[in-house]
Symmetry: C2
Subunit: 420 residues, 2 copies
Amino acid sequence: MTVQANKRVNGQRLWDSLMQMAKHGETPKGGVCRLALTDVDKAGRDLFVAWCEQAGLSITIDKIGNIFARRPGKNNDLAPVIMGSHLDSQPTGGKFDGVYGVLAGLEVIRSLNDMNYQTEAPVEVAVWTNEEGSRFAPAMVASGVFAGVFDLDYGLSRADLDGKTMGEELARIGYAGTADVGKRKVGAYFEAHIEQGPILEAENKTVGVVTDAQGQRWYEITFTGQEAHAGPTPMPRRKDALLGAARVVAEVNRIGLKYQPYACATVGLMQIHPNSRNVIPGRVFFTVDFRHPDDAILAAMDAELREATAKIAAEIGLENDFTQIWYYAPIKFDETCVAAVRKGVEDLGYSHRDMVAGAGHDACYLSQVAPTSMVFIPCIDGISHNEIEMATPEWVEAGCNVLLQAVVAKANTITVKATD
Amino acid sequence: MTVQANKRVNGQRLWDSLMQMAKHGETPKGGVCRLALTDVDKAGRDLFVAWCEQAGLSITIDKIGNIFARRPGKNNDLAPVIMGSHLDSQPTGGKFDGVYGVLAGLEVIRSLNDMNYQTEAPVEVAVWTNEEGSRFAPAMVASGVFAGVFDLDYGLSRADLDGKTMGEELARIGYAGTADVGKRKVGAYFEAHIEQGPILEAENKTVGVVTDAQGQRWYEITFTGQEAHAGPTPMPRRKDALLGAARVVAEVNRIGLKYQPYACATVGLMQIHPNSRNVIPGRVFFTVDFRHPDDAILAAMDAELREATAKIAAEIGLENDFTQIWYYAPIKFDETCVAAVRKGVEDLGYSHRDMVAGAGHDACYLSQVAPTSMVFIPCIDGISHNEIEMATPEWVEAGCNVLLQAVVAKANTITVKATD
């Protein structure tokens, strides 16, 4: 009961839809600025809903603005297979991150309509609110509420820099729905996404079969030394907080290189006080982002960082305020979902490889409440969160064809009831 | 023809004057915020001028707001001996940096009045406008105009962050004088100042005989790599601009330590782009401040920095935009002025050591047009440009006694005419 591999989605329609959606928030540099729950995001949502209604889907909006567009199955007592991602973007985002997963889902359903093919279980496309976290922190907040990781009240009370909350903004743009968030069975969840990294393109592979998502540990470190004049303060008497932070940057890099091929280790943010050319920095705040798919190795990286930081601080005479602010366990995606994706790729004959997702995705939270996996396609030069983010029409179509195969296979074999 | 060493200044009066002046711009933390040409700076200038008039001095203000308070000598054809420094402070400055040199000069004159002692050459106290450079860059701009380093128009056109120029602000607060800037002979220049470093206090010395000022080379470096997502971007594929900058910080420190005891090497300012926790920094701008009293060593430090920067950039794959933005040759202060200070210290019996000035001072520019030297006193923990900047009444008095000796000795032996 699969869709035959010679049945394909309409790649041109999918590409056109991506380009039309990209007009909402388009930037002069060719990217997209569609921050969550702005007027531009409302326009994007409205377009998506209109398309879904044209495709005969019924729309449900939950209390945190997640949109579900449903195509009935033969047996509507079965839990639905959901495809989805997000429509919001980074402030200088691109045309694919998130929106590809949403519109690939819609294209799967449009193609099923074209084929007049009915799945056993219902199939839905989901739009998750505020995945990026650019306007309202944290990221992935609405899929997190759906999965029970956050309370609904917490999600609705997230505020932007002007103090406007997600709850207020949902009401303002007309996307404060009435459906309960979560609290229903999901048969399986699939998310198509650009890789946001360079591996597929570098290895000339068209599709990534995502087996795992990396665990993450995020840290905030403040080194405090002694602010002093860069001229009359002899080198041996200094307590230079930036020198300490610089040594930690080097250690973070060393730790990342030590645990290859998977480890990622990054200092992305640093604030220097007072940040004046001729003053020895007295205080430096910086962050560390560690990622690895193996929790034991992530713990080893953590231990090495703590040891290195303490040693460097002691050598220079710095106070060391060290906090792990976030821990996110590695995720192994559901074997049956991964197998469905892999079979789809193999049946279609695309070049492929198994992959570990490096970034956070709504799929990471969904995996806590439903069998889940992801389909990756390449992006040019691995560049994402950037207005020049780009994928080719061929990759876009290939990932959607794989999604079609995996979703249909799963929707035809699910036995779990919506009421289980 | 010297003032006998048993003649001392009135230390209590000097201390009281410092504390009274510190009320103009006093901060809750016990420091001073008296930015150049603000209302608070005007109030400080007015107080100084009032004190000078009470001491019988004649006031001249030049076109860039430098104030000269003159006590006639026996022979007023001789070029004057000038003492001075600045009244403006850092935004979070202290009670001594700059103002000590001005009020020590005034106290020398008040004491000469008390002694009814007349010098051969006239003696003046100078207040130089905008030494700190906190409100209007660059620093030491008005003494620089006096010394012919900068044009008057350049000086007057310096603007603060609100676009207000020094010329406008001088006119507003009533300190746009009519006297030409510079263009007159200075017999000698002496500047008393807190050390702004920890050496004197650490070695338990009361007075620093300043023989040299360090040369300086300032650099601006921009490393450009590739901004990318911290999760899906493998370590070996990264071009992390912050990693490059961090390695340069370590190299700058290594170079500074290599050329001890005098070298100072500092990265004080760094700006990371985009400065986001989960984005590999694509661009980092940072500065380097090198100082050494020996020009040849300063050149060697320069060469090592250029080599290290190029090597690091090449290893990581970064573009390296490297500019030396300022070169300031080392200064050897005038032998006769240094000798006058040293004889004063020895006659008075204070513990002392020769010193190299690490910071920039108005004396550095004055040394280009007049025989010049400086007198340093300790400051607690070497802390300056800070609200907790502090010196003891004993140090303050000792430095002023030395200034008295040196100035009188010089004023009594000058032969150069004011019209030379």
